[in-house]
């Protein structure tokens, strides 16, 4: 899932400062799970904007905002007259809309990473969408995302008691990788030299 975070209302207001007639578009998928762009959040933002004297002329939650087939159908329902669109989906969903329509569009969320839902509203960063996925060589633990320095050939010298040097509350990914491979009796996998990563696979 793509994890998003709400922008502050002040920031959103600043973004659309010069516009008055606004369309709000949410997403029924990730943004709903993140509680950043579902039905509830769209209505909440609508109310906040109206309290500030803006006119919200249309709202909708597209089942999957990054699916352009669905976006195309939705756009047909837009009213003729409006000034701008506020997207409550991730950056990808917002661009699914912007690439189909010439009107100004603004994000009401920040897009953080691909993550795992632990509980509603509690996510764990798991993937930075780096291209060629290499977790098979690392006991299923992503060194790109989970290691603060994205190290491929072994830990940095700051790993301490299983924790990362950047944050005493964060596990050292390399300690996890090491321990898991040891358990699997597969530690030798780490011995081979790992070449620099291809960041741009097509």
């Amino acid at each position: 899932m793509i994890v998003t975070k709400k922008k502050s209302f002040e920031e959103v207001l600043e973004l659309i400062n010069e516009y008055n007639k606004i369309i709000l578009i949410g997403c029924g998928d990730c943004a709903t799970l993140c509680k950043t762009g579902g039905e509830e959040e769209v209505l909440e933002l609508k109310k906040q904007l109206e309290d500030k004297g803006k006119s919200v002329v249309y709202t909708s939650v597209i089942d999957t905002a990054c699916d352009q087939r669905l976006v195309k159908l939705e756009i047909k329902k837009f009213p003729k007259e409006y000034d701008c669109i506020l997207s409550l989906s991730c950056g990808s969903g917002a661009q699914a809309i912007s690439s189909l329509i010439g009107k100004p569009i603004f994000p009401a969320t920040d897009t953080l990473y691909a993550g795992v839902t632990k509980r509603i509203g509690d996510f764990k960063k798991m993937c930075l969408l780096c291209g060629r996925c290499i977790i098979g060589e690392y006991a299923g633990i992503c060194p790109i995302t989970m290691c603060s320095k994205s190290l491929l050939n072994g830990p940095c010298g700051g790993s301490d008691n299983g924790k990362c040097e950047t944050d005493p509350d964060k596990d050292c990914a390399w300690q996890l990788i090491f321990d898991r491979l040891k358990e699997q009796k597969k530690l030798h996998i780490l011995d081979s030299y790992k070449e620099p990563k291809e960041w741009n696979i097509k």
Partner: protein, 290 residues
């Protein structure tokens, strides 16, 4: 005798770390370094140490050379991608820099530009490999260079960590890919260091590897607390902090502590490396007695 020759002749070496200035004037620092010039084989020029911005280590290393001081230029993976690394290294060699310390680099978040984008395009093992390629007259794509580099490649290792197996894994790869000497994080726990040295002695790939032991001359209890809290990979045992706290003259006691550590590590190391130097005059006095 230069640093590389001394190392290869198994002579004991002394290195001292220097942070380039946070500005453009280098006069004061160079004058400081000249105080210890005769006692030091090479100066480790840091690369935005602790992710705090200072002058380019390449420029500063060249200034050292111009002043008759031999640099070990640090190069980290934090701020540059593989393109920038290679061009920087070719430039460094052309300017006369011969010794490198290839490092991962501290995390961006510990420094004074925490919003900067961390690069970490390649890691320190891959960096060692890249430098070896340049030494063999190839770039990272294995395309021939018009002329090659001939760097002495150093790398870092931290015997202080609780994850020693991880350090050894990486050390073996660094060695295999061309690192000829290792500088350690500053050592305060000598027993742990000895155990570490014994451990690597038993590892085939690490036979004959040259280890230069990191040393910090503490200044005060506050300094010790600061390092324990802020410097990743450094651990000052409580007994040393207490020892300093109980001392009538902490600065004098700190010098004794450093001397004791040096005496113990000297027989099992190929050199020492003074890090986090607060006062070069103090170090000069210290080196004169060593």
């Amino acid at each position: 005798m230069n640093f590389a020759t001394k190392l290869s002749n198994n002579k004991f070496t002394v290195c001292a770390e220097v942070n380039p200035p946070h500005g453009t004037n280098t006069l004061e620092i160079i004058n400081d370094l000249k105080k210890i010039k005769d006692k030091v084989d090479a100066f480790n020029v840091t690369d935005n140490s602790l992710s705090r911005m200072t002058m380019s280590p390449l420029a500063f290393s060249k200034i050292l050379l111009d002043n008759g001081l031999e640099p070990i230029m640090h190069i980290t993976c934090r701020d540059k991608n593989r393109l920038a690394m290679q061009s920087e290294l070719l430039g460094a060699y052309a300017l006369g820099i011969r010794n490198l310390l290839a490092l991962t680099g501290d995390a961006i978040s510990v420094g004074n530009f925490p919003d900067a984008k961390a690069v970490f395009d390649i890691d320190s093992v891959q960096l060692v490999d890249l430098i070896s390629k340049l030494n063999k007259s190839f770039d990272l794509n294995n395309k021939g260079l018009s002329s090659r580099t001939d760097f002495l490649i150093g790398a870092a290792v931290n015997p202080n960590t609780t994850f020693v197996d991880g350090q050894i894994l990486k050390m073996k790869k660094k060695r295999e890919h061309g690192a000829s000497f290792f500088q350690t994080q500053p050592i305060f726990d000598v027993d742990k260091y000895k155990k570490f040295i014994n451990k690597i002695k038993k590892i085939k790939q690490l036979q004959n590897v040259k280890i230069i032991c990191g040393i910090i001359i503490l200044k005060s209890v506050k300094h010790a607390h600061f390092l324990n809290k802020k410097a990743p990979g450094i651990k000052i045992p409580e007994r040393i902090v207490q020892d300093l706290a109980n001392a009538k003259f902490p600065e004098k006691r700190a010098i004794e502590i450093a001397s004791n550590i040096i005496n113990e590590v000297k027989p099992i190391s190929q050199g020492i490396h003074f890090a986090n130097i607060d006062d070069y005059s103090v170090l000069a006095q210290f080196l004169n007695k060593l």
